[in-house]
C-alpha cells in the first residue's frame, strides 16, 4: 500500500468519525479541528486500527496529533 493510499484511507476515516462532509483535501492537524477532542481522538484511533488492522502503543496514541502522524504510524506498523 502506497503512502497516498494510506493517506486517502486515513482521510476517509477522519471524515467518518469527525462527521466531515467529505474527506479532507489537506492534512488535518488536531489542534485546528474543534471537534477533535480527547473523546474523538480515541474514536479516531479505534477506527484507524480497525481499518488497517494495526494496534498502536499507548505512547503512539498520545503522540498522534494530525493526519500526517497517523499516516506515519500506520506505515511504520504495516512495514514492521
Amino acid at each position: 500500500m502506497t503512502r497516498e493510499e494510506v493517506q486517502a484511507r486515513v482521510d476517509e476515516v477522519l471524515a467518518l468519525v469527525l462527521k466531515l462532509p467529505a474527506p479532507p483535501q489537506q492534512p488535518l492537524v488536531r489542534a485546528d479541528v474543534d471537534d477533535w477532542d480527547s473523546l474523538s481522538h480515541v474514536e479516531i484511533i479505534y477506527a484507524v486500527e480497525e481499518s488497517f488492522g494495526v494496534a498502536f502503543t499507548e505512547e503512539e496514541m498520545a503522540s498522534l496529533d494530525g493526519s500526517a502522524t497517523i499516516v506515519d504510524a500506520v506505515e511504520r506498523h504495516c512495514a514492521a
Binding site: S38, A47, E50
Partner: protein
Amino acid sequence: MSSPSPESGVEEALRRLEWQPVVLADAPRRLDLLPLTPSWPTRQLRIRVHRNTPLEYVTSLLPPFLAYAGLSATFDHGDYDDSLSSAGTPGTGADVELVWLDFDRYRSADPLALADWLRERLRSLRAQTLAPLLVADWPGGGPAQEFNRELELIREELPDTAVTDLSAVAARLGDAFLDPRTKDLGGTSMSARAAVLTAQRMGLRWLPALVAPRVKGLAVDLDNTLYDGVLGEDGPEGVVLTPGHEALQRTLRGLREDGVLLALVSRNEPEDVDDLFARRTDFPLRMEDFSARAVGWGAKSDGVAAAAETMRISTDAVVLVDDNAGELAEVAAGVGVCGLLHAADPAATARALDLFPGLHGHARTEEDSLRAADLAASAHRAAAPTGDPDAYLASLQVHLRLALDARDQLPRMAALAAKTNQFNTALRRTGQAEFAGWLDADDAHVVTAALADRLSDSGVVAVVAGRRGPEERLVVEELCVSCRALGRGVEDVLLSAAVGRLMEVTEAGTVSVPYTPGPRNEPARAWLATHARGPCLTAGRYCCPGMRRHAARSSPMHRSP
C-alpha cells in the same frame, strides 16, 4: 403529514434488510456502521445520562442500531459524578433515565453497601420521574457478582427499572473487554470491541425493550430456513438438520417459552409438512410449537396475515423469518409486518434473533408463558356450542378473579397498557412507575382481572385504573382488555365487575371513561358506546350511567340478566 406510499414502505423494509448483515453481525465493524443513515422515519428519544465515566464511545455508535429498531436518540450527558447527585434533581422530561456507572471506581467499597447506596439514589431518581430507568450492571467477578445480585433485587423493587447485561459482553470478550491503553488518554478502559458490542446491545435490546413495542409473533418459513433442503424435492427424510439449523430451532423454542408466538408460514403441501414433523423426531421444534400454520401455495403475505389472525395479533407485531428475499419483499408489499429477517445462514439467523429489537428484555410475566397454551385452547372454545350465552359460559366454566392494587402485578399492568391495541379505550400506555404511583395514592386504585376456564388459565387479562373525582365520580384513567380474553363473550361481564369493584372502593356513584380514537381500538369504542349510550366518536371522557358498584372479588361468570 401524509402517510408513506406502499412503494416507499417496501423500499424502507428492503433497506433495513440490507442493514441486517452489518447491524446484526457477530462482530459489527465500526467503519461499516458509521456511514449508515436511515431512509425511514424514526421515533426520537431523549435520554438523560447519570454517569461517572464516558459513555460517548458507546453513544457515538448507537445511531445505526437504534435506527434499525426504528428509534433515534439525543443524549443529555451529565457531569462525571461518583456521588450520582443528579438522581435527586427533577426529571427533565426525558424518555429514559440511564444510570451509567463504572463500578470499578468504588472497588474499595463493600458491594452490599454500594448496592444500598445505589438503591437510595435510584429511589430518589424514581421519585423525580415516571420515565423508565436503565441501570448498568457491573461486569466482573467477585464483588461485581455480589453487587449484581443485589442490583437484580433493586430492579424488582423499583417499578419500570431495567438492568443492562453488560456482564454478557464482558463474559464474551474476556480480557479483550478492557483496553488499558485508553484509561488515561480517553478516561475509559472499555475496549473498541466492547464499545461496539455494548452499542449493539443498547440499541437493539436494552432501549427498545423500554420504549418500543414488543414483537408478539414470529412467522417462520420452512425450506432452507429451519433445515437445509426443499421438502417437496428432498422429502421429509432428505432435508438436513445441520448443527446450525438445530441451534436455530432451539433458539426459536426458547423464544416461544418466553411468550413469543410461532407461526409456520410455508409454501408446501400441508400433508407433506404434517409428515415432516411426524417423521423428523430429531427436530427440536415440534408441530405443536406453532400456534398458527399457514401452509399452501397462496401468497406468503396472505399466509402471514392468516397466521396473525389465528394468533389474534396484528401483522405489525409479527416478524417474518425467511431465506427467500423475494418472499420477504412480497410480504413487505402485501402486509405491514414489524420486521423482516433474511435467513441466509442458520447461525447468523439465530444470532439475529438473539438481538432483534422487540424480542428481548421486556419484563416477563406469568401470562407470557401461558400465551401459547391459551391460544391453543381458544380453538377448542371456538368449537363450543354458542346458542345460549349463559350455557356457553357455563360449559366453559369461566371463572373471574379480581385483584385490587396488586403490586406484584405491576409488570403485567404495564404490559397490558403497552401492548393492548384493540380493547384499549384511552391508548394511554401507562408505565409501571405511574401504575405504582396510583397504588401508593390514597384516592386511586387499580383493579386487575384474571380469567380461567376449563380449557386454560389466561392469567391477568384486564386492567382498570381510576381515581375518585368530584361528585362521587370514578374517573377511569386506564382501561384495557387483552385480545386473549376477547371472543369468549366475557369482556362486558369482566369489565363491569372490574369497574364496579373500583366504584366500590372509591365509593363512587358514577363513572367516566376516557376514549382516544386509534387505528385498531374499535372494540373498545363499541363497548364504551354501549355503556355511554352514545356513539363516542371523538376523543374525550364519557359517562357510563349504567355502571354499578360491584363487591365481588372472585366468581364464576355468567352473563348479567
